[in-house]
């Protein structure tokens, strides 16, 4: 209701403005012609009077032209047709002149006005087309609801000169409701105004709504059509984004499904190997057919123990892998001494290490590192266990650590095993990647990817290098955490124990 009455008001306002303009032009023309009336006959005067009519029609369109035509008709009659300064007409031929003049003036203003209006309409259409083109080009590059909503809000605001535009996208399939406002700093200020609402709608589903606040002029039917088109474009973009997201999700699921089944098959294989050893050894021992001498007996028992430890590491690795994957590794970092971590790992692996020479060079005066000592112990366990697997018996497995700079230690675990092809040096840290070297060695290829996960969660870096005679994995650990290096309170040396009697 208020809309239609206000649009009528606007129409009248426009007519009034045009009347004033036309009046001004016609009066000016009348003044000029009046000055020339001594030298020009009334007839050519009528022709000259067509000029302001044409001008008004050309400048301000049909309405202004017709108003000017009527004014010129009155002016001609009043100022130039005898008797002058009255609206009376004595001669019948003057009546004809006046009527023809009115007809011609209206005709001209119609022709000129229409041309002008259609030119303006064409220009407006072109502008619309350009805006739409820019808008859809912009949308084509966006694949996220938020970015799309922002683009819609900004473009609608610029096109319709609204003070504020709000785009609401309804919650859907776990997505929360999204509200985007343009300009952003007017959040909350929109609520009081009565907005123009345009739905963002698919045939079967409502996706959201565009709301325009404080649009300066009322929307013409053409504006409304344009707004509708903006909304269609927005819906298309949102739908496209959703399709892409769904496709990505599907691909990720497929990939993780593939990984899971590959994991399951290699895990079951991997678990069976130590289980077979354990089963074989324990049934042998309990069998009464053979009288085992004590050496053979011990060997079987050692095999059982070793394979049990191996199984334990494997199960732990699987668990850690799933933690790393889900981002739930949560290292419990505190200041730790690397030499102590290494000592503990070597003590626990003692039985498995007896077939190799272990060379440890982890100086006791290295600065403390800020790590979860259990997880870093696991990194060493995996790296050493890998070395034992790939390097020949009685070869050297080295564990070295040096101070790299003011805030890092560089740790190196090296062995005399076969080199890894250069192309694989990075790949070996990927899940399930195994460098096939002969058929002796097995492994699910989880160990190194767990090391990578752990080291990176500690802010370090891990990489592999081939050595002239062997292979090494290096990683870094931090000795400064958030700008803090540990401070140990000083103590004066004097002892509380009495020096020798």
């Amino acid at each position: 209701m208020s809309n239609s009455s206000s649009s009528i008001l606007a129409t009248w306002k426009r007519i009034f403005v045009f009347s004033l303009l036309s009046l001004f032009v016609t009066l000016a023309a009348t003044g000029v012609l009046y000055a020339l009336s001594q030298v020009i006959d009334p007839l050519p005067m009528a022709l000259l009077y067509l000029l302001p009519v044409g001008l008004c029609a050309a400048l301000w369109g049909l309405t202004a032209g017709i108003i000017a035509a009527i004014l010129a008709f009155l002016g001609l009659n009043y100022f130039f047709i005898e008797p002058r300064f009255t609206f009376f007409v004595h001669q019948s031929q003057d009546v004809i002149v006046l009527l023809v003049f009115l007809g011609v003036a209206i005709f001209i203003s119609q022709m000129v006005g229409r041309t002008r209006d259609s030119l303006a309409a064409a220009r407006a259409r072109e502008q619309e087309a350009v805006r739409l083109f820019r808008f859809s080009a912009e949308l084509a590059e966006l694949h996220e609801d938020l970015a799309i909503a922002e683009s819609i809000a900004r473009n609608v605001r610029e096109t319709f000169q609204a003070m504020g535009v709000e785009v609401r996208i309804e919650s859907d399939a776990g997505r929360p409701e999204l509200i985007v406002r343009s300009p952003q700093n007017r959040i909350g200020a929109f609520a009081s105004d009565a907005p123009v609402r345009v739905p963002l709608q698919k045939p079967e589903q409502m996706l959201g709504e565009i709301r325009l606040f404080d649009v300066p002029a009322d929307l013409t039917p053409a504006d409304e059509r344009l707004l509708q088109t903006f909304s269609y474009e927005g819906v298309l973009a949102l739908e496209r984004a959703r399709l892409i997201q769904a496709e990505t999700r599907a691909r990720v699921l497929e990939e993780s499904d593939r990984m899971k089944s590959s994991l399951l098959s290699s895990v079951s294989h991997e678990l069976r190997t130590p289980l077979s050893t354990i089963k074989a050894a324990s049934t042998s021992l309990s069998s009464e057919a053979v009288a085992w001498d004590s050496e053979a007996r011990n060997e079987l028992l050692d095999a059982i123990e070793e394979e049990t430890d191996h199984l334990n590491l494997l199960v732990g690795n699987l668990l850690d892998m799933s933690r790393i994957d889900s981002g739930a590794l949560n290292p419990q970092q505190h200041w730790s001494a690397l030499d102590e971590v290494v000592d503990t790992v070597l003590r626990r692996m003692r039985t498995t290490l007896r077939n190799h020479q272990i060379e440890v060079d982890v100086p006791r005066d290295l600065p403390l590192v800020y790590v979860d000592d259990v997880q870093i112990g696991l990194v060493f366990t995996n790296l050493i266990s890998n070395s034992l697997k790939f390097a020949p018996e009685n070869s050297v497995v080295g564990i070295h650590a040096i101070k790299k700079d003011g805030q890092t230690l560089e740790v190196r675990v090296l062995n005399q095993g076969p080199p890894v092809p250069d192309a694989d040096l990075e790949l070996i840290f990927e899940k399930f990647h195994r460098v096939t070297s002969g058929n002796r060695v097995t492994g699910i290829g989880l160990g190194l990817s767990i090391c990578k996960g752990i080291v990176e969660a500690h802010g370090g870096r891990i990489w592999a290098e081939n050595l002239p005679e062997g292979f090494s994995i290096k990683f870094t650990l931090l000795t400064v955490w958030k700008g803090y290096a540990p401070q140990i309170p000083e103590e004066n040396e004097p002892s509380t124990t009495h020096p020798g009697d």
Partner: protein
């Protein structure tokens, strides 16, 4: 030594195992019985608490993950009325639970899967500490070549005095007087440096290093002071 106590230690200490895995219960019962322990078992926390009250055992082996109540809760409820030694069983991934259990009254822990030597060592140490808690504290602790005289504040190695700073001595004395038992980082720090310092593991690391340098024949293979990653330290007095 009170005669009542002698009777309880001899000849067959009574061990209560609380664990919901029948295989573990079966294995522990067999192994411990063979080692001359009297064994009773419970598969649920509530049953375990009831059994401990009905027939007080000399030691409890407690799995931290039980079907009905949290193992730590069992620890707390036991500690409301008894000082019976508790050894908790847990898995590698839950250092926090272990520390939590130790802070709530457990005496020691074992990580599953464990070797039987380890289990027996824990049981022995826990029983011995319980016995000592009722008798007088030993004034002199002997560990290999090391002799720590708590009354006299004196540490000797191979019969010679070892010079230690006040803090080093305090740390060593605290560890050694709980020989064989794990002590959490927090417990050691608040005893040696004061309750306000219980987060400063870095102090502990540095002082342990210094102690090892002074005491251990081969610091690469420490014999006396053993680290339990994520939990604490243990002083080993046995050969």
């Amino acid at each position: 030594m009170p005669p009542r106590f002698r009777r309880r230690m001899n000849p067959q200490p009574h061990i209560l195992v609380i664990d919901d895995e029948p295989q573990i219960l079966r294995a522990l019962r067999t192994i411990l019985t063979a080692r001359q322990f009297r064994v009773s078992t419970a598969a649920r926390g509530e049953d375990g608490l009831a059994m401990a009250a009905a027939q007080p055992p000399d030691l409890i082996i407690l799995d931290l993950s039980l079907p009905d109540i949290d193992g730590i809760e069992v620890c707390k409820r036991l500690r409301e009325w008894t000082q019976v030694p508790i050894v908790v069983l847990s898995v590698r991934e839950s250092e926090r639970d272990k520390v939590n259990a130790l802070d709530h009254g457990a005496d020691d822990y074992l990580t599953k899967p464990f070797g039987i030597d380890e289990l027996l060592a824990r049981v022995r140490v826990a029983l011995r500490h319980a016995a000592r808690a009722q008798g007088a504290a030993r004034p002199v602790i002997q560990a290999g070549e090391l002799e720590i005289d708590l009354a006299d504040h004196r540490v000797k190695q191979h019969g010679k005095d070892v010079r230690l700073t006040a803090t080093e001595y305090r740390l060593l004395a605290y560890l050694a007087s709980h020989a064989g038992r794990v002590l959490t980082y927090g417990a050691i720090l608040s005893y040696v440096w004061g309750p306000g310092e219980s987060d400063h593991i870095e102090y502990l690391r540095v002082y342990i290093r210094q102690l090892r340098k002074k005491l251990e024949a081969d610091p690469d293979e420490p014999r006396y002071i053993i680290n339990e990653p994520g939990v604490g330290y243990r002083f080993i007095a046995e050969e």
